[in-house]
Structures are given as C-alpha cells and as structure tokens.
C-alpha cells in the first residue's frame, strides 16, 4: 500500500514538473487585446502621442492649462467670462479656485495619464531581457523616465507650492506613482522629494537617450538637457541651469528666422513643431472641448503686453491678430489653436542668457539675447541690439525679452512664482464685470488645490 502511494506521488510530481505551468496560466485570454510584453508593444504605448504628448484634439497632454489660466498673458472679456466659461473656471480666473471637480480630469488626470503610460513601459521593460536589444531598450527606458519626470514637474508647477531655494522645501506636494499597479500605496511626496526624484530620473535618462530623435514627440538627450535647464532655473539654481542650457545648445542652437514666415497667415507656424528647427520636444497644454479660458478663441492678449513689441518686431504680426474684443494669439508653435507647451531652443537660449546675466557675464548674456532678437526682427530694418552697462541691466533686458518670447507656452506662471520669491513683487490684477481681483505676490493663489476627487484617497 505505502509503496503504491509513493508511486502515485512520484507520478503526480512528474505531471507537475514536466510542463511549464506558468506558461499555461499566462496565456493571453483574449486575442483582440495585447498584454504588452515585448519591446515593440511598449514602444507603441509610449508612441501614443495623442495621450502622451497631447498631440491632436484629445484635450490631453502632460501640461495642465491651469498655470496659463492664472498667468498675466491674457484677459477674458466680460461677455466671454459670463457666457462661455464654467463657474469653476471663473473661480480660477479670479484666483479663488475652489476644490476642483470638473477641471480635475484635464489638469490632474491627463498629466498623470502620462505618468501611468510611462510606468507601464518601465514596468514592462523590467521584465524584458535587454541583452539582445540593448540600445532600443535603453532609449525606451530613457523616454519613459523623461515623460514621467516631465509630467511630475508640470504638475508641481500647478498643484505644489513654488520651490524656494532659501527654505528646506518640506511642504507636502504631489504623489509620485512609480508603478502601474493599482493596488500600490500612494502618498504625497514633499516638494524637495518631487524635485530630487525628477532630477534623478532625468539624469539617468541622459545616459540612455540619443542626442536627437527623428520625431520630436520622442524625447532626446537635448530635450533632457533643456528640461533640466528649465527645472534648475525654476529651483533658482542658475549655475546648474547654465550648464544644462550649454549642453543643450551644444547639440544644436538653430533658431527659426521669423523673416521666413508669412505673418499674414491665420497660423504662421502652420508647418507644425516637427518641421520647426527650434522645437526640441513636442507636447501640448491640456485643454477643454469647450470653455478653455486660455484658448485663443476666448483669451485676449493684455494690451500693455501687446504694445511692448516694437514696430520692427516680427512677432507683433506673427503672434497676434486683432478682433473686436482685443488682440488674439495665433503664434502657437503647434500652428493651431492648441497651445504648444514643449521645449524649444528659444527658451533655452533665454535660460542661458539669464544665467549669464545673474553671474555677471554681461557680454555673454547680450550675445545670446541679440542672437535671439536677430531672428525675431524684420531684417529689412536695422537691428536694435540690446545694450547693458551692468549685470542688473542685462538681467532686466533678458527678463523683458523672456516675457515677450515665451507667451502662452505655459512658462509664465512658473516665472511669476519664481521671480516673486526673488522679490520682484508682481501683483496681478483682473477686472471682471467692474470688480477688481488681485493676486498678491507669493499668495496662496499661486498653488491650486488638489482636486476633490483625488484628495479623498489620501489621509
């Protein structure tokens, strides 16, 4: 009897071991769906530019539009404010945001969708053996790290307090999900953790990515340098910002000569970011199907800002056209009403110029600045180059030019937060239906509340 039991046990063992049980149970249940397990599956997910980069008309993207909503590039005429804008956005427009509800999807969920896609790629790659496809594997991993860090950074500009170099930045900020597993515990990280994580990931991606990529929706090493320059600038670490801006421009510093554009067109940048030599990384601001306050359809450019462009400045015609209610922006590098919010060489040139000025390198700063305006000024007229007698004058010149060059790119909000910390004391004012609203420097209005639908999931 016992002998037979042993025999049975032996046979049973044979059954179990002879076959690959894991393979049997891992078979894809539905052929129409793909369980992403190969490099090409994962690359296809990362290439889903409609979600990852916000290209097209899906309203998605990695850059929340609430930053631009609060910034001082535009105003809303009263009838648009009253009739076209939801109450929730009206509150945001006058810097009194309530717990975000309907807006959460487009400002919180969509950037986090980029994080989710990146996490799926990173998670999938960790199960792959990179030996036979080392290079592709590295590039894809670098891309996912970049997209995720970029989205985190963008979320921090809206939903986290401004980074202040002079403090410990221990404020509670935003969650940093690092796995697609929906059961993983999530916590809100501190501000310093957010920036450290973002920088670490980007530094890793430098080692993985090629200098440039054929398609600008795919991140390149140049894009990482550009983004790191921007992030260090945000953190008021100008030495690092300068170094990264330098590395970025070393790869390529070509600017688009606006003299080659037809300023009379409805959208002078109609060729789009892919064919714009300035664009390093192509992505868009999120949007709303209707009632997007920062869409050129509604937003009217602040008059003093418009008047600050000189008569020989090509941007005055290329960026704007007049309407019955005021000037309308038409200069998105996307060549449509969608706001381009990617990384371009003009921004990096301005970062470097600012860093030079702050280091007292007046001549270098002016060189960069004048290189930029040479490509922005009507070449049939004499160029009025910037002059400066000292670093302060140079910095003022750079900031003026920065204000004019980078409008509706989602950058002004971060600049306002940063410059006010440095004591620029800019007070924003808006008048709606005769009532004036004010956003004082360093006010709580510079940090949006975390959406109510999200907050319920945290202690």
């Amino acid at each position: 009897m016992a002998k037979q039991l042993i025999r049975i046990a032996f046979c049973a063992l044979l059954v179990i071991s002879a076959c690959n049980k894991a393979e049997f149970l891992n078979e894809n249940p539905n052929g129409a769906n793909v369980v992403p397990r190969t490099w090409s599956d994962l690359q296809a997910i990362m290439d889903r530019d409609i979600y990852v980069n916000g290209i097209g008309t899906s309203s998605r993207g990695p850059v929340p539009f609430l930053g631009e909503t609060g910034a001082d590039n535009y105003f809303l005429p009263d009838d648009i404010f009253n009739d076209r804008i939801s109450p929730e956005i009206q509150d945001c427009y006058v810097w009194k945001p309530n717990a975000l509800d309907g807006l959460a999807a487009n400002n919180w969920n969509y950037p986090y969708l980029v994080v989710y896609y990146s996490n799926i790629v990173l998670d999938g790659l960790s199960d792959l053996n990179p030996a036979n496809q080392k290079e592709e594997y590295d590039i894809l991993r670098g891309s996912a790290l970049f997209h995720r860090a970029h989205a985190w950074y963008q979320l921090a500009q809206v939903f986290a307090p401004p980074y202040d170099k002079g403090t410990d930045n221990a404020d509670i900020a935003i969650p940093l999900p690092k796995t697609p597993d929906i059961n993983a515990k999530l916590q809100r990280a501190s501000l310093v953790e957010v920036y450290t994580t973002v920088i670490n990931d980007l530094e890793e991606s430098i080692l993985l990515l090629p200098d440039i990529q054929a398609y600008k929706t795919r991140p390149s090493k140049q894009a990482v340098y550009g983004l790191l320059a921007r992030i260090h600038q945000t953190m008021q670490d100008y030495a690092s910002a300068l170094a990264y801006a330098d590395s970025c421009l070393e790869i390529n510093n070509t600017l688009l000569d606006y003299n080659t554009l037809d300023g009379t067109l409805s959208y002078p940048f109609e060729n789009g970011p892919q064919h714009n030599p300035e664009v390093i990384f192509n992505c868009n601001m999120t949007s709303l199907a209707t009632g997007n306050p920062v869409s050129p359809v509604y937003a009217r450019v602040n008059e003093p800002l418009y008047q600050s462009y000189g008569e020989t400045d090509l941007r005055k015609q290329i960026f704007f056209r007049s309407t019955s209610t005021g000037m309308r922006f038409k200069g998105s590098y996307q060549g449509t009403t969608t706001n381009f919010a990617g990384i371009a060489i003009d921004e990096v040139v301005l970062i470097r110029a600012e860093c030079y000025a702050r280091q007292g390198k007046v001549e270098e700063a002016l060189n960069d600045l004048n290189y930029l305006i040479a490509n922005r000024t009507d070449n049939s007229k004499p160029l009025q180059a910037y002059q400066a007698n000292n670093a302060d004058e140079a910095l003022a010149a750079v900031l003026t030019e920065r204000r004019k060059e980078l409008i509706f790119r989602g950058l002004r909000w971060t600049d306002l937060r940063r410059l006010n910390i440095e004591g620029h004391n800019m007070t924003l004012r808006r008048t709606v239906n005769g009532t004036e609203y004010v956003l004082p420097p360093n006010g709580t209005g510079y940090t949006y509340p975390i959406p109510a639908a999200v907050l319920g999931f945290y202690d």
Partner: protein, 1063 residues
C-alpha cells in the same frame, strides 16, 4: 496548445504506471445488481467477518475473502442477503431484491465527480429523472426543467432580458450568472440546444456549497449535472419514441396598436399643422429620400378620391395581413431510437434522435440530428475502459421575415397593405420615399421597391451547428477500497452562419442601387457593388480539451464507520475562434466577385450627400481559457446516523495569471447531517423519515471584467505626429484580482410520513457574495478613474420547499407534487457613486446599474400624481410637491424616484397533480410567480409624430377637462416634448405587478404492457396527448396583461401527441 498536450501525455503516462505495476492480490470480485431491472447498484455494502467494502458507481466490488464465513450484502431499499460457500477468485453476480415497502427507488446523486445515494449527502441536491423530463416534449433540455425543481427560476417575458435561467437567485453583478452545465462529468461548452433530452437519464441540480463547491471557481451559480443513459440490463432494451406537436399562429392583436382610423386622422392633423410641409416640394436630397407614411403621401398627392382612399386605409389592419401571410401554424416532429444493454463485460447504449420543427414565423425551420454511444468494457478484474461519442448536427434556417417587427425604425403603419386582394405581395416604402424609388437612376437602377412578403424567400440565413464530444476513460481498482480513474474529453463545435441575400433580394438590390454611378452626360451606369446576391458568413469554433485524474477511496470498518473520499487533478483548455466575412456577387454556383471590387475608394451614395467605402466586414476573434485545478472530497458516516462531509478545490486560470493565482485561497465546504429516524430512541411511528442537514461553504465565480495584466489595444493609423504603431492602455494591471466568492449557508430537513403519504424537503439558505467584480472609483493619480476590482457584495436569502403527497392509492391513484421557492437578493456594497440622474435607473441606460439595498435588476419610477385637469399633461410628485417641470424631473437624482420592486420573481413554484386509473395517467402542472413587477407600454407622444404607428392607448388619451378621472394617458400635444414623454413612460402609473398563476400543461397518457398481461408484439407502449402554454389562470395586474407576453405576440396553445414503445 503544446503545453496542454504535454499535460495529457503526462497524465496518460501516470495511468499507465498505475495500471502496470500493481501487485496482484487474492480476493473476491463481483458486481451487484437490482434483481428486477438488472441495473447496477452503487454504494452497496459487502461485509465479511473482517472486511467491508462498498460497490463503486459501476456496481463493482472487490473484497478480501479469507474464511468460510458468509458474505453479507446490505443496501438501503433492498432486502439484505447472505451468500455462503464462495470459492476464492470467483466473480460474483449478486442480485438484490427490492424491499416491497419502499416504493420510491433510491435516488442517486451525480455530482459530476462521484455518484452517491441521497442519504449520504449533506448538501442541497435535486434530482429530476428521465420520466419527468419526458413528460414535456420541447426539443431543448433546459425548458423541460422548468417547474420541476425548487430553486430553479426560468425568467420569461420582460424578466428574461435580465437572467434567463438562475439557481437560487443572482449572486453576481457583472459576471456570468447562468449555472454551470455539466454533461457526463465535464462542463459543457457547446450550445445547450445540442442536447437531446431523450437521451438523458437524469439531471441533478447542485444548489448549495456542499453540493457545488467541488466545482470551485464555477460553482457560485449552482450546477446542473446531466447524465446520459448507459446500458445496464442484461436483456437488450430497444425503445422508440415519436411525437408531433402543433401550435397555432401567435395572436398579434396582443401587440397594442393605434387603430388605423385614428392613425389616418392623426396624420391628417399633423399634415394640417404643417409637419410635412417641407416634404411637399422637397428641395434637398434628404427630403426627396426620406420616406413618409402612405396616408401622408396621399394627402400630398391630393387626388380627387382622396377621402375614399383614406377611408380604405382607415378600415385596414396590417396585423391581419401579417397573421395570415407572415405567420403559420408550427409543426414539430421528434423521433428517437435507442438500444442499450449489457453483454458479458461490455455495456452499451446507442441512441439516435431527429427533430424537425417548422416555426410559426414563415420561413423559419429547425432540424437536429443526434447520435450518441456510451460503451464501457471490463478489461480485467481491475481495469475498466469506457468511451462515448456524441454527435449533433443542427440547422436553423430563417427567411427575411421580421414578422410584427416589420417597419424598421419608424414602426409599421397600422393601415399598411402588404398583400393585395389576390394574395400577391405589395411594396412597402419604409426606407425611401415612393417618388424617389420610382424615379431615381433614370432607369439605370435595379427595381428599388421592398415587397415584404416576397422577401421572405429571398433570404436564407442558415445557422448550422456541428458538435462532437468524445470522452474516454479508464478506471482501475488499485487495492481494497482504492481506485483510480482517468478521464479525457475532447469537444469540438463549429457554428457556421451563412446568411444569403439572394440575387434579386431587396437587400442586394438596395446595396447595388445605393452606389450605382450614372454618368450625367452619357447616362452610362457603373456598378461599384456588383449584381448578384450578398452572402454574410461567420464561423465560430470551440475547441476544448479536458483531462481529469482522480483517486477514490472507500472504507468501512467496525460495522459503524464508513469513509468515502476522492482527490483529483484536472486540466482544461478551451479555445474559441471566430471569423466573419462577406461575399458580393454571390450566386448559387458558389462564385463571388470580391476580388474585382474596390473597398478602398469612397463612392458617392445616391441616398445621401456623403461618400462611403463599400461595406466589407471582416473580423477575427480568439479567446483562450486555461484552467488547472485540484480538488478533494471526503465524507464520514457513523452508524448510518451521523454524517459529515467536506470538500475543497483550488482553481488556477490564465484569466488571473500566475501571480494572482498564487494569492488565491481554495474554495471549500463542510456539512453535517443527522438521521434522526435512525436513533435508537426514535419512536415517532407516523414520521418514518426525519433527517436534518446543515452546510456551509464558499463557491467561486468567474468574471472577465478585470485583468491581472496590463491590457493594451493597438490603434490603426499610427500616431498623430508620426506613423509608428501606437497602442492604448485599456486596463491597468491588477494582480490582486481573485475569484468572486459566494459564502452559502444551507439548512434542510427531509421527512416522510409513514407509507410516504407525505414526504418532502424544506431548505433555507443564505448566500453572501463577496469580492464581486465591479467598477470601483480609483485615485485618478493612478492614471485611471475607475477599475474593475473585487469590491462589491451582495446577499441573497431564500427558501426551497418540495412536497410530494400520495393522496389516493389503488386502482385510482392521485399524487401531488408541490414546489415553492422564495428568493431575495440585494446589493450590499457597491462603491461607484449613484449616477447624477435617476432616470438612467428607470431607462436602464447601462447593463447593470446597482443600487445598494436593492437587487441588481429593479424597477424605478416617478411617483404619479395624475393628469393635469387643465391640459391633460402628466404630473409627478417631486420633493413632496406636484410637478410638471419635465426638465427638472428628467435631471432629478434617484431620490426623486420610488423603487417599485424587483424585475425577477421573489416567490415562485408549481403544483403538479397526477391521477392514475388503470392504464391511464393524467397530470397537470400549474405554476405561479409573485413579488415582481414590469412596466406596461403606453402611448408615446413623440413616437406618434416621428414614427408611423403608436400604442392603442391613443384612444384613451386625455381630450377634455374631466378625462383625467377616467384615464392616465396624457393629452397629445404638437410639437411633442421628449421629456414629458419620458416622465410619463417611467411613471409609477405604468408599473404593474407581474404576479400570476398559469396553467402550464396537461399530459394524458395510456400505457399497455406485457407485464400487465396484455398481448403485445413488444414489451410496452405508451401513447400520450400533451397540451402546453395553456395560458393565465389569474394575473394581479389590472390591465389583463400576461406578463410573459407584455405587448408581444401571444403564443398560441401547443398540442402534442406521441408514443413510446419498448421492444
């Protein structure tokens, strides 16, 4: 698949190992059979002085035999027997004589893994034997189970759209709720209509955890175990059965329709108010094309005899045309022949069946051919091999006959004339306007008229099913009480649908005409869609392998202890593949011209201003199910009085992947039973049987809604900014997914009065379903706002009662069988917030819209406050006040609605009386259902305008002040207000109680048998008359609506005659 093969090879090897190397032992073998029927007896105790054994499911036993002591054979329901002077090594064939006092034969329960007598079970089982199954004559098995067993609910009428068939209520939200169907030991993955009810020996229903948990992850909804007939008698049994059923045309007047006169007058009113002005002199293509009702066309044409023509329409009812020409009397024929028997070591059963049905809808036919053989061969004392093959081929044909559904999106004009005075087809203009059809294409188009009657034969949609199931198995007696068995089943089912629209059919002509390009200069025509027929084909195959290795062990000792156990390992692989495509230019010579067609270009359509590609549907599907399971079951009996059972099973599946499987816990059950009547102290004379049972356990259920893996779906056409492939993530990975689980308590009492005057079973149960897969809101930070997760709960509670009484015995006999079930279920946990607008719950805008505290399917309605005496508009109570603010009502949250009750019955059952007199037997079944609701139909104002028909309530509409006391049908207004219609449609005034009692069927039979001394050329003959669908006896609703046919054509009574002969 190769993995599966590996497994099978391993299993076969294992069996080979087991059977080759077993030591031979001296012992006595034999078989025990019923002395009358010759059938093999399972569970018979055989005792010597020192050893005890029981017969296995094939009646076999083997026992150590050492001395000259007698063998003592005992079985419940049989006289015990002693056999002396047995020579060792002899093969015994023991016949047991049934105890005369026990009229009821011993019920044997088939769980799909084992067979055991009822008194050794603690769980909730119901057995339906073949004689009861064959009391009714429907061609499918499932409908024959209706009204025979408590706890089984067949939903009919509106409720059928929720769950067709349930055991003890629904205990899941999104997963499959239909019970698992097992045929001869393995789950059946084909179409249930493949089964021929006449080849079925018995059906066992497994209802509670102790009964079903051996099926583990698929047990939650209960299990229906079907056992086919096996050979058992020494004498070959040949039987033949045939029956013929007739059913009249359905009553179309049960579908309420506005009268033709009212409709004509209404259309005139619309015409006069300018609704059709734009169509008078159409300026756009859309206006020229869009069809109009016939009366309106007449009004526009305005001939001199307009009033006469309209009057003709007023007096015509299209339902007469339909009933006469589109419906017919149904004729069903059924034939069966079976042969079974036992010869030496071989048992065999061969049966064939043929069904031929002509449906009430003209052009619809069904035929089915079944063949099944079951054989078993006793290879040696220890080894038995068995094999069975079942083959089914069925074919279901339909013509182009929508019946009462004719009329497309606008509905059928009540005055439409489909047939002229000579019975010839008339055209009906439902897609395009008559004027457009008559003139379009300048003669280059094919005839564009649609003649419904002629079209019936111009389409042939043939749905053919071929199914074969091959099962083989060996069982081997390893040692005393220990046996091993290996079973393997292969099933292949191919379903092919050939939907042919013949050349000349309206469907094909329409496709050609839509795209025909006529050159405006030369007048020459080009045909992007070729002439000829159009054939839509779809194929779906199911390819299933299942293997099982099982060890059984039974032991009885010290005359009081008895243990029965089994342990097994199972593998299952199921591959479902399907594809679909279309042939253009199809002719009966099997030609097609797809190759010369251009499916890429956009062609302008003649019926609209858009251009489209030619329709070229092609689709492929592939689903794979893999399961690995192990299971064990043990029961212990002490002295026949106390019984304890336990069962455990663990399933692993590819649905969840390896990681999630590892976290899963086994599903299990335990039960106890106490045979009170067998206690020494028991002396209640009048109550001869009293048994108490209690079980608890956890059953599982499968849902495909969640995924343990990340699921992506490739998008066509590359990215927005590049042309690389792109993929969407459609579902995040959720490694903590697990089986849905249902915890079931079951308490039962079985009793029988002396002489079985009254016997029965009463059971109470409570099902707590947890870990139900449902949508759950999730932190949007994770990238998704909701996921399917094991997060919902439900509870169900109920009562199953089965009572049998023998009211009269003797020449005149009268027996009554009564079944009653009570079942309530409710959702107790569901995490998604309620939808913003309550009307979604009334309209059922999603498949499931759970509300905590209510069943998954419920009826919600606005609280009716009567018609407005001023204008006859519907009014509703909103926030305690009477309101006619329809926008506010439509946007109101669920609080503004009242919950009327469930869509499925809470109380249901049946009572069957059987009278016998000499060779006559008369039985009739009356069923009842109660505690549920349905929504009656009424007039929709907007539909009257946009559609061509309307509900008959039109004639009861409010027309003047004071009508509000007589009617609840609102005044008709023009233009209509969509929300006013919706508020009325979903108000409580239209909600009806569905409670009713109906006469299900009557069976009258006459039986002659040689055993009774009649001289017959064969053993026995039974002829019968069977009447079913006999209609309502009582209904609770005030409108005299049969809830089974709520505004649907009413099925006519069904009459069958038939005979069965045993040779």
């Amino acid at each position: 698949m190769s993995i599966f093969k590996n497994y099978c090879i391993c299993l076969i090897l294992l069996v080979a190992f087991l059977s080759s190397g077993m030591a031979q032992q001296e012992q006595l073998n034999g078989v025990v059979r019923d002395s009358i029927s010759g059938s093999l007896l399972t569970g018979v105790t055989i005792r010597t002085d020192s050893y005890t054994t029981v017969t296995n499911e094939d009646g076999q036993f083997s026992i150590h035999y050492l001395s000259a002591h007698p063998l003592i054979i005992n079985a419940v329901g049989y006289q015990s027997k002693e056999i002396k002077d047995v020579a060792p090594g002899q093969h015994l064939d023991i016949l047991l004589v049934p105890e005369i006092s026990v009229l009821e034969e011993v019920e044997v329960i088939h769980s799909g893994y084992q067979q055991l007598p009822r008194e050794r079970a603690t769980g909730s089982f119901n057995v339906i034997k073949s004689d009861l199954l064959n009391r009714s004559v429907s061609p499918d098995l499932l409908s024959r189970l209706e009204n025979l067993s408590p706890g089984l609910l067949f939903n009919r009428g509106d409720a059928a759209s929720t769950d067709r068939f349930l055991i003890r209520g629904r205990s899941t939200i999104t997963a499959e709720a239909q019970p698992l169907i097992v045929v001869d030991n393995f789950p059946y993955d084909g179409d249930l209509n493949n089964l021929n009810p006449n080849t079925i020996e018995q059906v066992t229903i497994l209802k509670d955890a102790a009964a079903a948990s051996i099926w583990g992850a698929r047990a939650s909804n209960g299990v229906v175990v079907i056992t086919t007939k096996k050979g058992s008698t020494l004498r070959p049994q040949v039987s033949f059965g045939a029956n013929l059923s007739l059913q009249g045309r359905p009553d179309l007047f049960n579908v309420s329709m506005v009268s033709s006169a009212d409709r004509v007058d209404w259309e005139r009113k619309l015409y006069e108010s300018g609704y059709y002005d734009a169509a008078k002199e159409p300026t756009t293509l859309l206006r020229r094309v869009s069809p109009l009702p016939e009366a309106v066309e007449l009004m526009i044409a305005n001939p001199d005899d307009l009033e006469i023509l309209l009057d003709t329409l007023r007096h015509h009812d299209v339902r007469n045309d339909l009933q006469q020409y589109f419906y017919q009397q149904a004729v069903n024929q059924q034939y069966n022949l079976s042969i079974s028997g036992r010869q030496q070591r071989l048992t065999y059963a061969i049966s064939g069946g043929y069904d031929q049905n002509v449906a009430t809808l003209v052009g619809q036919e069904f035929s089915r051919f079944n063949l099944r053989t079951n054989t078993a061969y006793q290879v040696s004392e220890r080894l038995q091999a068995e094999a069975s093959i079942a083959f089914t081929k069925s074919s279901d044909n339909q013509g182009n006959n929508p019946g009462i559904g004719l009329g497309g999106s606008t509905g059928l004009s009540p005055y439409a004339r489909l047939v002229d005075g000579f019975g010839d087809p008339l055209p009906y203009y439902q897609d395009y306007r008559k004027g457009f059809v008559d003139t379009a294409g300048n003669g280059e188009f094919l005839d564009w008229r649609y003649r419904p009657l002629e079209e019936i034969r111009l389409r042939r949609a043939e749905n053919q099913l071929i199914d074969y199931v091959i099962q083989t198995g060996v069982s081997y007696r390893i040692a005393m009480g220990l046996s091993g068995q290996f079973k393997y089943q292969y099933q292949y089912q191919l379903q092919s649908i050939d939907d042919l629209h013949r050349e000349g059919s309206y469907y094909a002509r329409n496709q050609v005409n839509i795209f025909t390009q006529v050159d405006p200069v030369t007048g020459a025509a080009e045909y992007p869609v070729p002439m000829g027929g159009i054939m839509n084909l779809s194929r779906e195959s199911v390819d299933g392998h299942q293997g099982r290795l099982q060890l059984n062990y039974a032991k009885e000792w010290a005359q009081k202890h008895r243990i029965n156990s089994l342990v097994g390992y199972e593998i299952r692989s199921l591959l479902t593949e399907g594809n679909q495509f279309m042939y253009y230019g199809y002719t009966d010579a099997y030609t097609a011209v797809n190759g010369s067609m251009d499916f890429l270009s956009y062609y302008p359509r003649n019926t609209s201003t858009s251009s489209t590609r030619l329709n070229n549907p092609q689709q492929r599907r592939r689903l794979t199910d893999h399961f690995l399971s192990w299971y064990a079951n043990v029961s212990y009996t002490y002295d026949g009085r106390y019984l304890a059972t336990a069962s455990v099973r663990k399933d692993e599946a590819n649905l969840f992947g390896v990681a999630a499987n590892q976290k899963g816990t086994p599903l299990w059950s335990a039960g106890i039973a106490w045979h009170v009547d067998k206690e020494p102290f028991y002396n209640v004379d009048w109550l001869s049987l009293l048994r108490l049972r209690l079980t608890y356990g956890v059953n599982g259920n499968i849902s495909r809604r969640g995924s343990a893996y990340t699921i992506a779906q490739f998008r066509s056409g590359g990215g927005q900014s590049h042309s690389f492939p792109t993929a969407d993530v459609i579902s995040p990975p959720n490694e903590s997914l697990r089986w849905e689980r249902t915890k079931v308590w079951n308490a039962g009492v079985d009793f029988s009065l002396r002489n079985q005057r009254l016997s029965g079973t009463i059971e109470w149960y409570r099902k707590a379903a947890t870990d139900l897969l449902a949508e759950v809101p999730t932190d949007p930070t994770r990238g998704v706002t909701s996921v399917f997760s094991n997060a919902a709960n439900m509870v169900g509670e109920g009562l199953d009662v089965q009572l049998n009484s023998i009211n009269f015995r003797g020449a005149f006999g009268w027996q009554t069988a009564f079944i009653y079930s009570y079942n309530t279920t409710k959702v107790t946990k569901y995490l998604m917030p309620l939808a913003d607008r309550g009307i979604g719950y009334a309209e059922k805008s999603a498949t499931v819209m759970p509300v905590i505290g209510n069943p998954v399917y419920g009826i919600y309605s606005y609280e009716w406050a009567g018609l407005d005496p001023q204008n006859g508009s519907p009014r509703i109570i909103l926030n305690g006040e009477i309101s006619d603010d329809y926008n506010a009502l439509v946007n109101a949250p669920l609080d503004a609605f009242s919950y009327n009750g469930p869509v499925q019955p809470v109380h249901f059952g049946a009572i069957r009386n059987t009278f016998t007199w000499k060779a006559w037997e008369l039985s009739c079944n009356i069923s009842f259902k109660a505690g549920y609701y349905f929504r009656s139909h009424s007039m929709i104002n907007g539909g009257l305008i946009a559609g061509w028909t309307g509900h008959g309530d039109y004639q009861y509409r409010w027309q003047q002040a004071g009508d509000e006391v007589k009617t609840h049908v609102p005044a008709v207004i023009y233009p209509a207000n969509v929300n006013r219609d919706r508020v009325y449609q979903y108000s409580s005034v239209l909600v009806q109680r569905a409670d009713h009692v109906r006469l299900e069927d009557i069976n009258l039979s006459y039986r002659l048998s040689q055993a009774d001394g009649t001289r017959l050329p064969f053993q026995s003959i039974r002829v019968f008359l069977y009447l079913s669908n006999m209609g309502l006896i009582w209904a609770a609703n005030t409108k005299n609506i049969d809830p089974y046919f709520n505004n649907q054509p009413m099925d006519a009574k069904h009459i069958s005659i038939g005979l069965n002969i045993d040779f």
